[in-house]
């Protein structure tokens, strides 16, 4: 069985493509690829492909945060990305991915939400991040978070008409100020396979994994969000090891992102 | 490495999932238990049974999973040209093929409902259960027959031994006081027919509710005596009545 073969390989300290257990596949980041979006980014992590788009609009603030802008993160798994993806409303995996990325962006306070306030209690900027998975070859969360943050870092405000209090959609790329992004959160997912911890699995490795834990870190290296997924378990030691890996590899990923 | 074997709970103790019942390799894991790191643990909420070195935990709730050889009571729920589908009060349906139900030769194209029809209640034996839980039944057993009239009761399948009692003592007791014919299926379905089916039903429910408490036979006897004012049924229903 495929799973047994994978487990034996990992137990012997090797990976299918020869990488180290704590090594990412080649990563490419491109930003500004969708001009109709206020911000966008495309991430290739091995063969996984994720695109994130940032759209801004003006809305009423939420009642309990009248001075802050709104943030929404949504995720879609496009059916051509994998035979496992079905058309229809987001699956629980897609919902989870969006919420885990949201956690990193929100808990790191990477957007200064108060700077998105136009008129307190009346009008604020709403930031919508949509993450589309276009090709699934494992480790989508890390790629999705990179895409979301890269898109945020290069996003610009669209034209805003103070008289009509509406966004001017003139079919031209947004050319306003950059968004008030003050941190660059990064998510590293640590996977447990055959009792060992590794990062950035490709599809086959991911299918044999027992469990995963995603940990988000801020620019200063502090942890700000975590999510465990999958059927297996982690011991306290494994979780602490994972935290260390998340910080170390998080710094590597962050170095690839556009600067603040 | 010689680990001393020890038993940590007594017979009939109530245990919960994860409770350690015994240590060491001397004790063997029976149904309802599993072994982990040299410890024998319970998988279910139930009562411990010890039979020499075999440790079992009898679950106090749960569904019936068919086993070959079980005598069960089922209801015909569907049929094709050559087999019936039987509802066993289980997550698994079972198939009864004509060849296992009708001793004579059956013409191709016969409407087999002439033998057993939808809704018929039968006492039938489990012939085989495949690894993926495809269940085959057979009427090729001296106890197998259609059960006419009467009514059906259900209990948790694991409590069937309590309804039957040691060497049938409990079921004989109920028959004596209610005058009913009683057939018990391993799947927890019980058929009663006779002058006091209602009392039989209430007795079975009592057993279901109190199976975990010691002294059940005494309590059931007391209950039956009270209900019949000390008079066992004057007439016992016979087979064929």
């Amino acid at each position: 069985m495929k799973e047994n073969f994978m487990r034996k390989l990992i137990e012997s300290g090797k990976r299918l493509d020869g990488r180290a257990f704590d090594q990412y596949r080649p990563i490419q980041i491109e930003t500004g690829i969708v001009t109709s979006a206020e911000g966008s980014a495309r991430i290739r992590m091995g063969k996984s492909l994720v695109v994130a788009g940032v759209k801004l609009d003006v809305k009423e603030p939420y009642p309990d945060t009248p001075n802050q802008g709104n943030l929404m993160v949504d995720g879609e798994f496009i059916p051509f990305a994998s035979p496992e993806f079905e058309p229809g409303p987001p699956s629980e995996e897609a919902v989870e991915l969006a919420r885990v990325v949201d956690r990193a962006v929100r808990e790191s306070h990477c957007i200064d939400l108060e700077k998105l306030c136009i008129t307190p209690s009346e009008l604020v900027w709403a930031v919508n991040i949509d993450i589309h998975v276009l090709d699934h070859d494992g480790n989508l969360i890390d790629a999705a978070c990179l895409a979301a943050v890269a898109a945020l870092l290069t996003a610009r405000f669209p034209k805003f008409d103070k008289e009509t209090k509406a966004v001017v959609r003139d079919q031209k790329p947004a050319s306003g100020e950059r968004l008030p992004v003050v941190d660059r959160p990064v998510e590293v997912t640590i996977w447990k396979l055959a009792g060992k911890l590794l990062i950035d699995p490709e599809m086959e490795e991911q299918e044999s994994a027992e469990a995963r834990v995603t940990m988000a870190t801020k620019e200063d290296g502090r942890l700000c969000a975590m999510q465990k997924g999958g059927k297996g378990f982690f011991t306290s030691n494994e979780l602490l090891q994972a935290a260390d890996l998340a910080v170390e590899k998080g710094n590597e990923l962050r170095a690839m992102l556009p600067a603040l | 490495m010689e680990a001393k074997s020890e038993l940590l709970v007594r017979e009939r103790a109530l245990v919960t999932p994860g409770d350690v019942i015994a240590r060491g390799m001397e004790y063997l894991p029976g149904p309802g238990t599993y072994r982990e790191n040299g410890e024998l643990k319970s998988k279910v909420l139930g009562l411990v049974r010890l039979k020499e070195r075999l440790v079992t935990v009898v679950s106090l709730s749960g569904v019936y999973v068919p086993k070959p050889g079980d005598g069960i009571i089922g209801k015909i729920s569907d049929m094709s040209a050559t087999f019936w589908i039987v509802d066993l009060n289980s997550p698994y349906d079972a198939l009864l093929n004509i060849s296992e139900a009708v001793p004579e030769f059956v013409e191709h194209g016969t409407d087999i409902s002439v033998y057993y029809d939808i809704g018929d209640v039968i006492y039938v034996k489990v012939l085989s259960v495949s690894r993926t839980k495809n269940v085959s039944l057979t009427m090729n057993d001296y106890r197998a027959k259609k059960l006419l009239g009467g009514r059906l009761l259900t209990v948790t399948a694991t409590k069937v031994p309590r309804v039957i009692g040691r060497e049938g003592s409990m079921i004989e007791l109920i028959k004596k006081y209610t005058g009913c014919l009683i057939t018990v299926g391993q799947n927890g379905v019980i058929w009663v027919k006779g002058p006091n089916e209602d009392l039989a039903a209430r007795t079975v429910h009592l057993i279901e509710r109190e199976a975990h408490i010691e002294g059940l036979t005494e309590r059931v006897t007391e209950f039956l005596e009270n209900e019949t004012k000390g008079k066992p049924a004057a007439q016992q229903l016979q087979e064929g009545d």
Binding site: P63, D64, T65, Q68, E92, V95, E96, R99, H109, L113, E114, V213, R222, L223, C224, A225, M226, Q227, K228, G229, G230, K231, F233, F234, T235, S236, L239, D244, V247 | L7, L8, V9, R10, R12, L14, V15, T16, P17, G18, Y34, E36, K41, K43, V44, L45, L47, S59, S61, G62, V63, P91, Y92, D93, T132, K133, T156, T158, E210, H212, I213
Partner: protein, 248 residues
Amino acid sequence: MGGSKVGAPEHLIIKGKRLDGRTPGDFRPITTDVGVLSHAKGSAVFRFGNTWAMAGVMGPHEMHPKGLQDPANATLRTRYFMAPFSTWERSRPGMSRRSTEISKVIKEAMQQVLFLEEYPKTAIDLYMEILQADASTRIAAINAASMAMADAGIPMRDLISAVSVGRADGVLILDVAGLEDNFGDVDMAVATVADKDQFVLLQVDGIITRKEFETLLGMARKGIAEVYRKQKEALIRRYPGATMEAVQ
């Protein structure tokens, strides 16, 4: 930066005591009950103070559509659902993305302990209903779910036990309640297999140092030991009159 929300209290910890009078390491009153529903094969209630969760297990039963049956295992389906009246502001009925995510992480936690291979091709349906929400709802839900599974006779390696831990006003706390959830800095949901060092559910919101993370894991395990004990007691109480003494 983050900005403060409307209604934030000035302090969450005053002279070492929390707003409801608890010390940082105290639980709210815990209530448990098993076997509360008549149709569900197994059922249970778990409360932390005002947070009230009820779980019901239906099955194992035949699974439809047949094409989705797993020939080797039972399929566990879970649904965590909040009643619209469970919160002060009526929440919209129906599944939200949040409840979808919570259903998923609870399912994954339960899959670690259930012997699903004993009921191939069937479905086991776990429904968790939050009747009243005062933070730590997924924790109460999974604690109830565990007991409900045992009540249903589904074979399990052990129970799943959960607690929430967090930080408010810089103080690490156990069993996060209402205001602490809304206005505290860190909220961490944790579940383990019994009281063992096997974490099957972990969600953290908020900025923590590695040291705090380590301390919180330890606090969680300590709290879980107590929850586990209460769950076991509740299961035993389900069958009054049963004998439990160990052999001497």
